[in-house]
C-alpha cells in the first residue's frame, strides 16, 4: 500500500475499456469516485481508455466494468498484451473490477464458447460456467467487510446492488471476500466479492460504488488516507439503500433458482 498522500496532489483514476466493458452502467463508478474526491476539494484526473489505446501504468486507481462475452475476451487479450494493469497492481495501485471485469482478473474464466481462458491472475479465483439460469436480480449481503491492503479488516455495512451473470466464481485460498450473501447469488457459494491486496472484484452492479458509498470511500482511503475523507451528504443514497433493502428482502427481484439448483446446492 502506498503511503497516504497530501490532499493537494492529484488522484489519477483510469476507466479501462468503457467501450468494451461498459454495458451495465459501471461507468458510474468512475463518476462516483471522481465526484467524491472533487466534493472534498481533491484534484482528480479521470482518464478513459478505449480498446486499442495504450494503458497508463501510473494511475492510482483502475476501474474495470462488466460487459458481454465477446468484448470480455477482447479486453482480456488487450490487457494481457499491454501488461500495464498488472504492473500497476503490483506497484500497489487500487483495482476495482465488476462482474465480467472481476472474472477476467481471476485465474480462469469461460469465454463466449464456454472454452476456459486464462485470466490476468490478479485475483485468486476461478470462474466456471454452471448449468442454471443467469443470476439476475437484487443482490444484498449481510454486514460486509473488506480486508485492506495493510491487512486491517474494515467494516462496510451491507452491500447492495444488482447482479446479472451466468458464471460462478470460486475464491482461492489466498483471497478474502466481502462476506455472506443475504439475498441473491453473489459468487455462487454464499459469499460475495473477491479481494487480493489492493485488487477488489464484485458482482455488484448498480453501479456498486453509487449504491455503497462506504466501499467507494474505503477504496479512496487506500489512496488518500483517513484524514482526507471528510463526511459528505449521502442522504439521496441513504434513501436509495433503504428502498433497495426493502425490495431485496421482499424478494421483489430475487434470482430464480429451480428445485434442481437447490438439490445440487449450486
Amino acid at each position: 500500500m502506498s503511503t497516504p498522500r497530501p490532499t493537494e496532489s492529484m488522484v489519477r483514476i483510469c476507466s479501462l475499456y468503457p467501450d468494451l466493458l461498459g454495458t451495465y452502467g459501471d461507468g458510474g463508478n468512475a463518476t462516483v469516485l471522481a465526484q467524491r474526491l472533487r466534493w472534498r476539494d481533491i484534484n482528480v484526473d479521470l482518464v478513459s481508455i478505449d480498446a486499442g489505446r495504450s494503458v497508463p501504468d501510473s494511475c492510482d486507481l483502475y476501474l474495470v466494468g462488466g460487459g458481454e462475452d465477446g468484448p470480455q475476451t477482447r479486453a482480456t487479450q488487450e490487457l494481457q498484451t499491454s501488461g500495464a494493469l498488472r504492473r500497476a497492481a503490483n506497484n500497489g495501485a487500487v483495482v476495482f473490477a465488476v462482474c465480467a471485469g472481476m472474472q477476467i482478473l481471476g485465474e480462469r474464466f469461460p469465454d463466449m464458447d464456454g472454452v476456459d481462458r486464462a485470466g490476468l491472475g490478479l485475483l485468486d479465483c476461478v470462474t466456471v460456467r454452471v448449468d442454471r439460469p443467469r443470476a439476475v436480480g437484487e443482490l444484498l449481503t449481510h454486514d460486509a467487510a473488506v480486508t485492506a491492503p495493510d491487512g486491517t479488516v474494515r467494516p462496510l455495512g451491507t452491500l447492495t446492488g444488482f447482479e446479472n451473470h451466468a458464471g460462478r466464481t470460486i475464491p482461492g485460498a489466498s483471497a478474502t471476500t466481502f462476506g455472506r450473501v443475504e439475498i441473491g447469488e453473489g459468487n455462487g457459494d454464499g459469499t460475495e466479492g473477491v479481494i487480493n491486496g489492493s485488487v477488489v472484484g464484485t458482482y455488484l452492479h448498480g453501479p456498486a460504488l453509487a449504491r455503497n458509498p462506504a466501499l467507494a470511500d474505503e477504496l479512496l482511503r487506500w489512496i488518500i488516507g483517513d484524514a482526507a475523507l471528510t463526511p459528505l451528504d449521502d442522504s439521496d443514497v441513504d434513501a436509495l439503500r433503504a428502498d433497495r433493502h426493502l425490495a431485496a428482502r421482499a424478494h421483489e427481484l430475487a434470482p430464480q433458482r429451480s428445485w434442481r439448483d437447490r438439490l445440487r446446492g449450486s
Binding site: D19, D26, T31, T73, A239
Partner: protein
C-alpha cells in the same frame, strides 16, 4: 369498410371472432384496451392466424430499440394518402398485438407492423414481409433481453432465411449494418446517429469499430459503413433523386431521421413523394409521445425516453432551461428491472435546470442527479411532482411542464390522460 373475413379460412374467421369477443370482455371490465389478450385468444384458436391475415397483402415490418412506434406511425401516414393501411399503431408489437390490429382490416390494406426487436424472425417468417425497416439497436432492458449483438445476429439469420424484397436500414449503426447487409437489396439511410456507446465492439469479428467523422469501419475486418442512398439534414432529406424539404410537426432531429425511413419505405412501395411528405408532416403525436395535455389539472407535455440512446435524443427535445422538468423512472418488467443505465445517460446536460425525480425508482434517479450536480428533489407521486415543478421560480405560468418518463411510467400517465385506444 369492406370486410376481409369472407376470404379467410373458416378457422381464421372463428379465431378473429373469438379474439374480438375476448377483447371486448376485457375492455368491459377495464383491463385495458384488451387488444393483446384478444390477440392471444385468437392465436389459441388458430396459431397460423398471422400468416392467414397477412397473406396476399403488402407487409412492412419496422423494428429497432428506439423509434419504432413513431416510425411505424410515420410510415402509415406516408402511405395513407395512396392506399388503405392497417397498423398496430399503439405499440402492441408482439404477435398477439399484431393479429389483434389486423383482425378487422380490409383485404387490400397494406400492413405496417411495429415488431418488437426479439420477434422479428417469427413475424418475418409468418408474413414473408416485402419490406423490413431496421432503425437501430442499443442496450435496453439488459436483464430481460438478449445481449444486443445476439439480437443483431437473429436479425441477420432471419433476413437470410426469409429475404424481403427491400430492407431499409441505418448505415450509421454498425450492428444494424452487420444484420442487414445479408439482404439482397438494402436502401441505406445515413442518419448521422451519434450514439455509439453500444457499437464499439465489431459484431462480426470481436475487433473494434473506429469512427472517423461521418464514417466508420472495423479495425480488423471488412465491416464498414455502406454507401447511403439517403441522408438526413436539418430540415430535409437528401436522396439520390434530389433533396426533399420537410417541415415536421414532431419535434427534433430524431424525427427527421424517422421520417427518412418512412420516405424510403413509401418510395419502395411506389408512393409519390408529395403524398408521402404530406402524410409525414401531418403527424402531431404518436401514441401519446409529444402530446401536450392536462394531467391532474396541470398542463404537461409527455415525452418517452427509456434507455441511454433514447435519452441522448430526448434531452434535446426538453423545454429550454431554466424550465423545471419532471423525470419519471420505473423498473418493471417492460422497463427492465435494472435501472443502472441511468449512469450511461449524460444527465450532466440538465445542470441548468431543476429536476423533480418521480416514479418507482426515483431514488436511483436522485442519486444519479446528485452525482451529476443537478439540482433536484424527489416526489412520491406525479401530482406532487407537477405541483413542485410549477412552484419553482423558473416556471413560466401556463406553459406545459415536460414529463420525460420511461416506458411503464409513460404508459401510466398516458392512460391517465385518456390515451389508451
Amino acid at each position: 369498410m369492406p370486410s376481409r373475413s369472407t376470404s379467410l379460412p373458416i378457422r381464421s374467421r372463428l379465431a378473429v371472432g373469438v379474439g374480438r369477443l375476448v377483447a371486448a370482455s376485457s375492455k368491459a371490465v377495464h383491463l385495458g384496451s384488451g387488444s393483446v389478450i384478444g390477440g392471444r385468444a385468437a392465436l389459441v384458436v388458430n396459431p397460423q392466424l398471422l400468416r392467414d391475415l397477412t397473406a396476399g397483402r403488402d407487409v412492412v415490418i419496422v423494428s429497432a430499440t428506439n423509434g419504432k412506434t413513431t416510425t411505424t406511425r410515420l410510415i402509415a401516414a406516408a402511405l395513407a394518402g395512396d392506399r388503405a393501411v392497417v397498423s398496430n399503431s399503439m405499440g402492441a408489437n408482439m404477435t398477439a398485438g399484431i393479429v389483434a390490429a389486423l383482425g378487422g382490416a380490409a383485404a387490400n390494406a397494406t400492413a405496417v407492423l411495429e415488431v418488437d426487436e426479439r420477434w422479428v424472425a417469427g413475424v418475418l417468417r409468418a408474413t414473408s414481409a416485402g419490406t423490413v425497416v431496421l432503425l437501430n439497436l442499443s442496450r435496453d432492458q439488459l436483464d430481460r433481453t438478449q445481449e444486443v449483438r445476439k439480437l443483431a445476429e437473429a436479425w441477420r439469420t432471419c433476413l437470410t432465411a426469409t429475404p424481403p424484397t427491400t430492407v431499409i436500414a441505418n448505415a450509421d449503426d454498425p450492428l444494424v449494418v452487420w444484420a442487414a447487409q445479408v439482404a439482397p437489396h438494402v436502401i441505406w439511410v445515413a442518419t448521422g446517429q451519434d450514439w455509439r456507446a453500444d457499437a464499439a465492439g465489431c459484431p462480426q469479428c470481436a475487433g473494434r469499430i473506429s469512427f472517423t467523422g461521418a464514417t466508420w469501419r472495423c479495425t480488423d475486418c471488412e465491416l464498414a459503413r455502406p454507401e447511403p442512398a439517403m441522408s438526413v439534414e436539418d430540415s430535409a432529406i437528401a436522396t439520390d433523386a434530389g433533396r426533399v424539404p420537410l417541415s415536421m410537426r414532431l419535434p427534433g432531429r430524431v424525427n427527421i431521421v424517422n421520417a427518412a425511413f418512412a420516405l424510403a419505405t413509401a418510395r419502395s412501395l411506389a408512393v409519390p413523394d408529395d403524398i408521402a411528405v404530406a402524410g409525414l408532416q401531418s403527424v402531431e403525436e404518436v401514441a401519446g409521445r409529444y402530446r401536450v395535455t392536462s394531467l391532474a389539472g396541470r398542463p404537461v407535455r409527455l415525452l418517452l425516453a427509456k434507455n441511454p440512446a433514447g435519452w441522448h435524443e430526448a434531452i434535446e427535445l426538453l423545454a429550454d432551461p431554466p424550465a423545471p422538468v419532471v423525470v419519471s423512472i420505473n423498473a418493471r418488467i417492460a422497463d427492465g428491472h435494472d435501472p443502472s443505465w441511468l449512469w450511461d445517460v449524460d444527465f450532466e446536460r440538465l445542470r441548468s435546470r431543476f429536476v423533480v425525480a418521480t416514479g418507482e425508482r426515483r431514488h436511483d434517479l436522485a442519486v444519479r442527479l446528485r452525482y451529476a450536480d443537478v439540482e433536484h428533489v424527489t416526489a412520491d407521486t406525479i401530482d406532487e411532482a407537477l405541483r413542485v415543478a410549477m412552484g419553482r421560480p423558473a416556471y413560466i405560468a401556463g406553459r406545459p411542464v415536460d414529463i420525460a418518463a420511461n416506458y411503464t411510467a409513460f404508459q401510466e400517465y398516458f392512460e391517465r390522460v385518456g390515451g389508451s385506444q
